[in-house]
């Protein structure tokens, strides 16, 4: 539905040119949510704004439903108001001088639809986002969550081919964010609208997306469904950015099918081989904290296990964060909040061979 190839956007600063978007390509299938995830300044918002037409790219091509809306080679640039796109902004951008109804009806008025049809469609859209009865309010009389819904209704009212969402939840408090996240996902499924979503929040990205593209410094590092991105990230950046990760540098001692025996600073361990891993090769081994098991008794620990000690134990409600000293290395683990472990305990740390993964160093 949305096809982007070799997109480039360069900002010329005083001293240097910044490659805000540097050869980005991806494809968003019809009816899916595709998320651009990355730290601030990674180029995700610029990419989104290029799709919207709010920024003019410097290179590449953008197609929506097979139609070229930007092409550097053929010098095509369709201005934003001629693109069939709905967008929700980070600040919601609800016009303060108009009532809720007029905000939502605006795109239809621009289309010069008949008055009755405008009224019907705008009210329908407000209904869809659960704001029936609020059409005569002013923007200043709405809560953050309600403003967000108005913005959604306005973006959807002209039934665009594509919906763009620019950090739509970042201005909401934690509880509301959780709720709106689910609502946006439900709405998207119901309307089956192709959606490009931008966020810096990995949990949000994991929760809402069909596909995630992790971006850094203007480039896409990894693309895939949330589970794959989380479990088998293709780069150290992705592994670090999505969730907390322990990283060990290892040397492959021997290869046994898909598994390899590694020598690491905490001792020898068996885990999945990186792509193209051969004996003598170097690899980075990633272990998620929730995949580390901690036992007081060595008899309970099986497979890869190492002796260590608990340095700090932090109770966090849903779980407890455990800082472990294993040899010269510090590892982080998550344990049950009510576990009998105490700071200073000598423990055994178990890392299952299928609970970690590695990439070539």
């Amino acid at each position: 539905m949305i096809e982007i190839s070799n997109l480039g956007k360069y900002f010329t600063g005083e001293r240097e040119t910044v490659n805000a978007v540097d050869g980005v390509s991806f494809f968003v299938p019809e009816g899916k949510i595709f998320t651009l995830l990355g730290p601030s300044g990674c180029g995700k918002s610029t990419t989104l704004r290029c799709v919207a037409g709010l920024e003019k790219p410097d290179a590449g091509e953008i197609k929506i439903a097979g139609k070229v809306i930007y092409s550097a080679r053929y010098k095509v640039f369709v201005p934003p108001h001629k693109r069939d796109i709905g967008m929700v902004f980070q600040s919601y951008a609800i016009w303060p001088h108009m009532k809720v109804f007029d905000n939502v009806a605006y795109p239809l008025k621009i289309k010069k639809m008949p008055r009755e049809a405008i009224r019907k469609k705008a009210l329908e859209a407000l209904n869809t986002v659960g704001l029936q009865g609020l059409e005569d309010r002013l923007a200043s009389q709405l809560s953050g969550g309600q403003q967000q819904r108005v913005a959604l209704a306005r973006a959807l009212v002209k039934e665009p081919q594509v919906l763009l969402l620019d950090e739509p939840l970042s201005n909401l408090d934690a509880k509301l964010r959780h709720q709106m996240r689910t609502e946006i996902k439900e709405l998207q499924r119901r309307l089956n609208i192709t959606t490009l979503y931008v966020t810096h929040d990995q949990i949000e990205a994991l929760a809402i997306s069909d596909y995630i593209a992790v971006m850094n410094k203007g480039k896409i590092l990894d693309v895939g469904p949330p589970v794959e991105i989380y479990q088998k990230p293709g780069s150290r950046f992705t592994a670090d950015f999505i969730g907390q990760t322990n990283v060990l540098r290892g040397k492959i001692l021997s290869v046994e099918g898909e598994l390899g025996r590694f020598s690491t600073p905490i001792g020898e361990m068996v885990t999945m081989l990186p792509a193209g891993g051969v004996t003598g090769g170097e690899a980075l081994i990633f272990i998620r904290p929730e995949n580390i098991k901690v036992f007081k008794d060595q008899a309970q620990a099986t497979g890869n296990n190492f002796a260590g000690a608990i340095k700090v134990l932090t109770f966090l409600g849903e779980y407890a964060d455990c800082k472990l000293q294993v040899g010269e290395e510090v590892l982080w683990a998550r344990v049950h909040p009510l576990s009998p472990l105490r700071e200073g305990d000598k423990v055994y740390v178990q890392i299952d061979q299928d609970a970690s993964f590695s990439i070539p160093a």
Binding site: A52, G53, P80, H81, G86, M87, W95, H97, Y106, P107
Partner: protein
């Protein structure tokens, strides 16, 4: 063929409505700003007025001006006058701002309003009121002091450099008050508090933290005051000329008004004054840039902690009351009094019996004043509207668009801030005496002058409003399918209205009392109110001019009141526009 078509459509895409408007704005601003500037510079190095046959390039005008025995005292007086006014306004304005923002003085809310009143009174009227109060012969204060202390000679004399500085400073200090109150208000208290927590006492904190933080604000306030004083026309013309104390503005006025007009001398003096004020503006801009670097505003809604003056607060309050009685009460009283007496005479019980409304009735039946009223109101409405419309578009382009050349537009629009009123008058004389555009001697030349003069004020209010309108509000409109023009009409303009109204009212107020540019450009039939006041003064018709003055002040107070109401509404609006 096909490639040609493609090129054409490409060209059409490039030349959209934005570019056309940008070019139109640049042309309009260049016409208003650059042509007078160029003509002034060019005219000042010609041996005869531009357009006259046989003229050639010469530096004679400058040599005549600089080598004249009058030049050294002129320069000295101008600077003494400028520096004196700047120090006095600064001391008055800053002390009042400090009392108002940072102390627990009783009645300080009223003082805050009172400190703005002198700004509403037109300069010519405040000057006249001070002459009526401090003149050695008829000055009310002098007469009272002589009687009270049995003096033989009047103790005070307005016809002196200190007298001029006093009259100017009392008119100008509200500006310092506003600037300094804003800086006192935006000062982050935690900076002072952390100094206290580090062990510094009240005095130590003041010297080591408060003063250094305020220094850029002090400096820029003083520079602005210096520029305003050296550009001032009313006090130098009405007080300085009779006293024989000439400064640049009055000397330029004399050069144009002698017969035949000495355009060469006026031009070279005008360029010299322009250079001085431009340097002032340049240093002011540098100082304010530094001020921004020092910006102590946190943006959080906090109120600075007030300093408890203890028993002194009653003394301070009393001093303020006396100050305002003298600087506002007395001038307004003397104007009111004079407007009701048949012939000017010092207030007394005997004279009080002769009070009547005759002067007001006379003003209404005097053809020239009625023409002036019509002209002034017409100019007020048109100037304010055109200036604000023009600067709204310019401000949008300068702040929001990405078109090349927008920076230049912004700079161009700001240039007139460095033009003293009288210099602008001389420049426009040059332009419309030479160019075949027949507006010389009509009301239209005044309109062009006012628009040029007030563009910087317009651009300042509109661009600060536009900066507050989040770009996303406009982008949301584009993605709703609206073109740039539709977005500007339906989103940007409505959101701009509060700032537009505030700027409109301000320009309306200042154009209603404009004198220093009009004085060189008016002709019979295109008089404005302040010109009539000036003429009545020259003709010695004090009661009539005071009646007219009271009417002007009433109109201005009404405008200020509306502006204040609108200002309050802007405050509310700003919160909703992010």
């Amino acid at each position: 063929m096909e490639s040609r078509l493609a090129k054409l459509s490409n060209l059409r895409e490039k030349i959209n409505s934005q570019h056309i408007i940008l070019v139109a704005c640049i042309l309009a601003v260049a016409y208003l700003v650059l042509i007078p500037l160029i003509m002034l510079l060019f005219g000042s190095i010609r041996s005869a007025p531009i357009g006259e046959p046989g003229a050639h390039f010469t530096f004679k005008n400058y040599l005549d001006a600089y080598l004249s025995p009058r030049f050294f005292p002129l320069m000295g007086n101008s600077f003494l006058y400028g520096i004196g006014s700047c120090i006095l306004t600064f001391v008055l304005g800053t002390s009042l701002a400090w009392v108002y923002e940072r102390t627990n003085t009783p009645f300080k809310k009223i003082f805050g309003v009172a400190a703005l009143i002198p700004f509403i009174v037109p300069g010519i009227l405040s000057t006249i009121s001070w002459i009526l109060l401090l003149s050695p012969k008829i000055g009310l204060i002098n007469l009272v002091l002589m009687k009270l202390f049995a003096l033989e000679n009047p103790p005070l004399n307005i016809y002196s450099l200190p007298g001029m500085i006093w009259a100017e400073a009392i008119h100008l200090y509200p500006l310092v008050f506003m600037m300094m109150a804003a800086s006192f208000r935006s000062m982050d208290m935690s900076l002072e508090e952390s100094s206290t927590m580090s062990g510094a006492g009240v005095f130590g904190t003041f010297c080591r933290v408060t003063l250094p933080l305020m220094r850029p604000a002090f400096f820029s306030a003083m520079l602005i005051m210096f520029i305003r004083a050296i550009e001032a026309f009313e006090v130098p013309a009405l007080v300085g000329l009779p006293a024989g104390i000439e400064v640049f503005t009055s000397e330029i006025y004399l050069a144009i008004h002698e017969y035949p007009s000495n355009f060469g001398l006026a031009g070279s003096l005008a360029v010299t004054l322009l250079i001085i004020s431009s340097l002032g503006v340049y240093f002011y801009r540098r100082a304010t840039a530094k001020e921004q670097r020092f910006a102590t505003v946190t943006g959080k809604g906090f109120r600075p902690r007030l300093i408890d003056l203890g028993g002194f607060k009653y003394l301070v309050s009393g001093l303020c009351i006396v100050f305002f009685l003298i600087t506002i009460g007395l001038p307004i009283f003397i104007l009111l009094w004079s407007s009701f007496v048949p012939f000017y005479e010092v207030p007394s019980l005997a004279a009080a019996k002769t009070l009547s409304l005759k002067n007001y009735i006379f003003v209404f039946n005097f053809p020239t004043t009625m023409t002036a009223f019509k002209n002034s109101i017409f100019l007020m409405l048109t100037t304010a509207t055109i200036t604000m419309l023009l600067t709204s578009v310019i401000a949008w382009i300068a702040v929001k668009s990405k078109i090349k050349g927008r920076g230049m537009l912004d700079v161009l629009t700001f240039i007139p801030i460095a033009f003293p009123g009288i210099v602008l008058g001389v420049s426009l004389l040059y332009v419309y005496l030479a160019l075949p555009i027949p507006i010389y001697g009509t009301i239209w030349i005044l309109m062009v002058a006012y628009i040029t003069k007030y563009m910087p004020y317009g651009i300042r209010t509109t661009s600060s409003t536009i900066i507050q309108i989040s770009s996303e509000l406009e982008e949301a409109s584009a993605l709703s399918g609206a073109s740039w023009a539709t977005t500007f009409r339906k989103i940007t303009l409505p959101l701009l209205i509060p700032g537009f109204m505030a700027g409109w009212l301000y320009i309306a107020m200042v154009s209603l009392r404009e004198l220093s540019t009009s004085i060189l450009l008016y002709a019979s039939g295109s008089e404005v109110l302040s010109i009539v006041v000036f003429d009545l003064w020259e003709g010695g018709q004090y009661p009539t001019l005071c009646a007219l003055g009271i009417m002007m002040i009433s109109l201005l107070v009404l405008l200020a009141f509306v502006a204040n109401k609108v200002g309050a509404r802007i405050g509310i609006r700003r919160e909703t526009t992010h």
